[in-house]
């Protein structure tokens, strides 16, 4: 049986581990040099920080995952620095590009563990050098030992906001401000549910408390107004919950509002998507074990709906067991299923604590740029409902008319905000305007004419 696993983060590692244990040697594809995914990304060789410094409370989990990754690599058909840029479900083929060489991987079953990226809301000035995603700010520090600036402001909501601010302060960067768009009341209301989460809630409180104790400027329930600067970031302006304007000097800003699935391959595989109202994300359809309506395609980890690293590890193993079960093997899944179910309940509380601030996207001024690639303004997107074309009833026609999502990133950065802006203009729910359809390649590939290499 030919099995392909795409992704070597927490989900991919545990999926491959379970396949190897069952005697299956999968083709294992990952874009990074060393695997490990984003959350537990290892610095390149030469860095000396220990796991405790790099991963904090998650050090033990990260160390265990790295051990599993290193043990699995030589036993699998490990293909690092390889982009799976397309999938052809009818032929059961994945199309890859690695160091300029195109390849075709044939599969009987594939587990897609393609991870997530930051979900962002555009802010005026967000294209200035010095603005990164929250995840980007964390990667700079974790994997490169660098802060995105000397004096950094963080803007967004969710657990990562507080964690990254804490990590920056600990590493010796000046944290200019932590600006949370979620009002304190929303988090407090969801707190009882979050207490179910093993230690996550306590960790969050610890970071907030630490930042307060160290005199870091913190504001909650803010409305961002602009990131300012000429050629690079020099400050950030926001309005507090009472309507007063504030400003902080800074040379960099990290922004992010939780995560969204990087589900392009699932989309190209023909997996239908549902709008998950709680996560406020479009997620590929799968059952609790990771099976999709498309034969042979399994999903696990944040790429199949945001669940976090701990869930991803369990889901990766579970998807591999589903694959084995469907291949007629006998598997034991009850304990795994119970743990996944428990974690799902916690996740639901977390989502309620940090709801996506759709109103911020919808309320952006007409002159704000929402699409970084094509340099499109919010006003240009709104104009798609006003002619000369027949009004855009959904995002793909808005894309056709305005070019939203037609740039190099194919809407993975602006798509969520574009849908909010359009839905608000049309006066309908965001689910009604749909989502940008995926189109190959998953990421840009060079126009070259090398021969295709097929590997079984």
């Amino acid at each position: 049986m030919k099995v392909a696993v795409v992704g070597a983060g927490p989900a991919g590692v545990r999926a491959v581990e379970a396949l190897l244990a069952a005697g299956i040697r999968p083709v294992w594809i990952d874009e990074a040099m060393d695997g490990g995914g984003r959350i537990y990304q290892r610095p390149p060789t030469g860095m000396r920080r220990d796991a405790r410094t790099l991963y904090g409370f998650e050090a033990a989990r990260a160390t265990a995952l790295h051990a599993a990754l290193d043990a699995a690599k030589p036993r699998a058909d490990w293909r690092p620095e390889t982009l799976a840029w397309n999938i052809r479900p009818g032929r059961q083929q994945l199309h890859t590009l690695s160091a300029g060489t195109h390849g075709v991987v044939e599969y009987d079953a594939a587990i897609l563990c393609t991870g997530a990226m930051d979900r962002v809301v555009p802010v005026k000035g967000w294209t200035l050098p010095g603005v990164t995603t929250m995840g980007g700010a964390q990667i700079a520090l974790k994997s490169q030992g660098c802060g995105i600036g000397q004096r950094v402001a963080f803007l967004g909501s969710g657990p990562l906001l507080w964690l990254v601010a804490y990590q920056y302060a600990k590493a010796g960067a000046q944290v200019a401000a932590v600006l949370d768009t979620t009002p304190f009341a929303a988090k407090a209301a969801a707190a009882p549910g979050m207490l179910r989460g093993p230690a996550t809630f306590a960790k969050g409180l610890y970071y907030i408390g630490w930042l307060r104790a160290h005199g870091v400027r913190i504001a909650e329930g803010v409305t961002p107004l602009a990131i300012e600067g000429e050629g690079s970031v020099s400050g950030i302006r926001w309005r507090d919950a009472k309507g007063a304007e504030h400003h902080a000097d800074c040379d960099a800003v990290g922004i992010g509002w939780g995560l969204k699935p990087e589900a392009q391959l699932a989309d190209l595989a023909g997996v239908p998507f549902n709008f998950d109202a709680l996560q406020h994300n479009w997620v590929p359809r799968r059952d609790a074990a990771g099976r999709t309506p498309v034969g042979g395609i399994y999903l696990a980890g944040d790429g199949s709906g945001i669940g976090g690293a701990e869930v991803a590890e369990l889901a990766g193993a579970r998807a591999a067991l589903a694959l084995l079960e469907d291949a007629g093997r006998k598997v034991e899944t009850a304990a795994l299923d119970r743990r996944l179910e428990k974690l799902a309940r916690f996740r639901s509380a977390l989502e309620k604590a940090f709801p996506f601030p759709a109103h911020l996207a919808a309320g952006l001024p007409d002159d704000a740029i929402f699409c970084r690639c094509e340099n499109l303004t919010v006003g240009e997107l709104r104009a798609t409902t006003a002619g000369p074309q027949i009004p855009a009833p959904e995002v793909n026609r808005a894309k056709a008319i305005s070019r939203a999502g037609m740039g190099r990133c194919q809407g993975r950065v602006c798509g969520a905000a574009a849908a909010e802006i359009l839905a608000a203009r049309l006066g309908c729910g965001v689910a009604e305007v749909g989502r940008l359809r995926g189109q190959a390649p998953v990421k840009p590939i060079p126009l070259t004419a090398p021969p295709l290499v097929t590997t079984p």
Partner: protein
Amino acid sequence: MNDTRFDVLVVGGGGAGCSAALHLAQRGTRVALLERGLVGGQASGVNYGGVRQQGRNPAELPIARRSRELWGRMKELAGTEAEFTVTGHLKLARNDAEEANLVAYLDVAKQHGLPLRMVGRNAIHVEYPWLGPQVVAGSFAPEDGSANPRLLAPALARAAQDAGATVLERTEVEHYAHDGTLFRLRTVDGREFTAPVLLNMAGFWGGRIAEAFGEPVPVKPLSPNMMVTEPLDYFIEPNLGVVGGNVYLRQIPRGNVIIGAGHGENDPGQPGQVPWSRPVPEVTMEGARLAIALVPALEGVQIIRSWTGIDGNMPDKIPVIGPSSTTPGLFHAFGFSGHGFQLGPAIGAIMTELVLDGHTDIPLEAFRITRFAEAAA
């Protein structure tokens, strides 16, 4: 319900169907356009965007000439030029036989008043220094150019609405009947529409409508394999094609290069199903190879997106246009075989003349639906 009875029903919201709705509405006809998905969703909206006359089958040239006149005043017609730009179309020869083909077409063009200029072996690399060495000659059509296919059908649909047409998207007709006086169309969600006149402008699916009225045609689904690059400094002004048509490319002033070559895969589906089509990676790669051979500077440029849609392909590569041979009041215009975008605006005008005037000055004999049965007989 009153608004299910019309003078004319148009099935299919491509460029031609939307133009028909517009032209009919402009002349005061009660017309409804029924579109299964969204207007311009298939061949009309996702094609290459060539507004090209040169190289067409001679039978199509009178339509193409008329359409070119409409393209020239698209803003007035549809409220937008749909990015129509007269860049000229440069058709390239890569060997002696292809060059002979270009020379032979000069006479055809002359007969139809289509300006063409031969660019010979010496001139071609002087005038277009970015062309690859395999190019030996070209034929330049100064009136041709390109437009943005994503904008045209939705703009024509909007103009049709403004002129009084009823445009119904997400309206999939499942059942077709004619009771001797009226066409009765029933949608998959149970709505019924009636009219004494029906225009079948449903692209590939037009074959199914023709079949429902007892005149099947050998139409097949066709999915041109398209891709676009990241933006580059603007240097390719003319819309480029080659003899044989195995690659075509153009650059828009924003900088992206749009490349078409070969065909993707598709499933047009049964009524109630969503059709799908997708580019084929090997075809995309082959297209890349052909494009680089034509314009070597494209090597290493990033492809950021690929796509396709579904058109109707006829065995003789020209559409079916004209009255039904079985059912009075039924008119067809479908099967544009991958090159209908330029023709769409004129097709709407011609269909309007057939319906309202009973005749058109454009010769349509070559496009009659009975030609396949005649050939088989």
